[in-house]
Subunit: 316 residues, 2 copies
């Protein structure tokens, strides 16, 4: 389901490093060459390139990229080049320092990664920031957001397919009761959403829909301006159908006055190696425009080329 | 600091299995032989013995032990033989099903294991119970206990020595304010205790003591019968000086009408390979009786022999 295209025969990390070195050399930078290499290597290959670059030239490839590139193109290349767990740790740390809107990034990382991946993010966070992820999230958020986000980023959900239907029914009932009482921040709602396995949660929400006549997210839309309700609905979407969640993030990033490059870059860099194919399908279906055309319409230059390479445009 | 004594030359797992098989054979069981083997092998060696036993005889060593042994002796042998992460998962699962007193076991596991060890417990919990640890804890506890225990068992604390003294001072002040207001379940207290690294927490609590004239646990002793305050004090003790915490558990288990074998077995089986030497020192100092003598006075037979072997009595 990834859109990353790795050539059939990949040059050795040493050859890639040599080419990258050339791309940085002299006046001006050869951005096309950087895209040609980095946008077509998987995480393991990129890690090897970084190691080889440091061993060969005694310099950090990321710092070189930082020196040579700028603005949106720089950000997408840097984010992409990072190892996925390191990248998520970086994005999460950034989110703990910014405005409440970036709470979404924390929720997104906590809910759309596998349990093992999320744990690797927490390990990478220790290594890079000398603190724990949950410690920074708890410190920098407050109120209902804190109550929701801290258990989300600390979760290690069971990932098996087993579903307990009795439990699904009883917890659907609890959810419905609390929502009917408008007790949206009730600890039972938070407990169910932050601890149950995705399979179990899915069964519970299906039962909710069957027994009470509405999808839960419809019942959670009583006040479209309430930010907590908005993140609660997004949490449910991330846990049950991440590609629809990401489609919407892209849609909102693109269809507005002034593109939200921050969101566009994040989604492309974090999903190209995971489920971007499904996200593209969802995007096309919902917007009647293919994602690559939408991106071309809203971006330009190296930034556009890098995004298109990552979403598999060349061979699309 | 472990008290486990492993002989200089250890028989092969195959030889150990053969001896164990002999110990189970015929009428009656040779308990002394079981102790002689299992109580003198480390976790890796015990795991190898279990694997070899299953491969050689097609039977699960733990089930065999379960068949052959009984009561307290059975429990200590079974708990000890389990891999530490599996054992903690077992104890934690048992705790989620029992009365509130067993909340202590959950807190103890969450606070006295390293971050990596606690994560291994969560993995073992998935494998064995097809659910997550935090899911069961959240479901089976309520109120303030739930608010404290869920983040404790989900924590993945940073383990470096770095301390931020400015933060230590500001958080000591927060703790003191909330405690002065008797807001013992305030989210700031829970946040600090459940997310900060042990080094950072230690600095904060030292500053608390210096700045406000009392150790925090003294200020948390306003109502000795309050169960939440009791577990809050125990949490702090586990995080800052685990050997004193375990000394007290042993003291209360032994010095009472009818020994609390449940607690005695748990502490010996979980700490023999970790810090039992320090716990023994703390016990002797606090009770003016060596721990082995205290255990001998309160237990008997194979159970006594197994406990004494694990706390290193033979060579003490």
């Amino acid at each position: 389901m990834a859109t990353l295209i790795v050539p059939q025969s990949v040059p050795s990390p040493a050859e890639d490093c040599e080419q990258l070195r050339k791309a940085f050399a002299g006046w001006g930078t050869n951005e096309a060459l950087i895209i040609q290499i980095l946008a077509h290597r998987n995480a393991a290959q990129r890690n090897l390139i970084r190691e080889t670059y440091a061993a060969t030239y005694g310099e950090d490839l990321l710092k070189e990229l930082d020196k040579e590139l700028s603005s949106d193109f720089e950000r997408v290349v840097l984010l992409w080049t990072l190892d996925p767990a390191e990248r998520d740790a970086f994005l999460a740390n950034e989110a703990t320092k910014r405005l409440t809107a970036s709470n979404w990034v924390l929720m997104e990382i906590a809910c759309t990664r596998s349990s093992h991946e999320l744990f690797m993010v927490r390990k990478a966070y220790h290594a890079r920031y000398k603190r724990s992820l949950e410690e920074d999230v708890a410190y920098h958020t407050s109120g209902d957001f804190c109550k929701l986000l801290v258990p989300l980023v600390s979760s290690f959900r069971y990932e098996g397919d087993e579903v307990n239907m009795t439990l699904a029914k009883s917890e659907a009932k609890i959810l419905h009761e609390k929502i009917s009482d408008k007790a949206y921040n009730h600890e039972a709602i938070i407990r169910i959403l932050t601890t149950r396995s995705k399979a179990q949660l899915n069964a519970t929400l299906n039962h909710y829909n069957n027994a009470f006549g509405n999808a839960i997210n419809k019942d959670l839309k009583t006040d479209p301006k309430d930010e907590y309700l908005t993140i609660l609905r997004a949490t449910i979407k991330c846990l049950t159908c991440p590609e629809k969640y990401f489609e919407k993030v892209l849609r909102l990033a693109i269809n507005r006055l002034g593109t939200d490059e921050w969101a566009l870059t994040r989604v492309v860099a974090t999903r190209a190696e995971v489920d971007m194919q499904r996200i593209k399908e969802a995007y096309h279906k919902r917007n009647s425009v293919p994602l690559d055309r939408a991106i071309s319409g809203d971006t330009s230059g190296d930034y556009e080329n890098m995004l298109l390479a990552l979403i598999g445009h060349g061979n699309a």
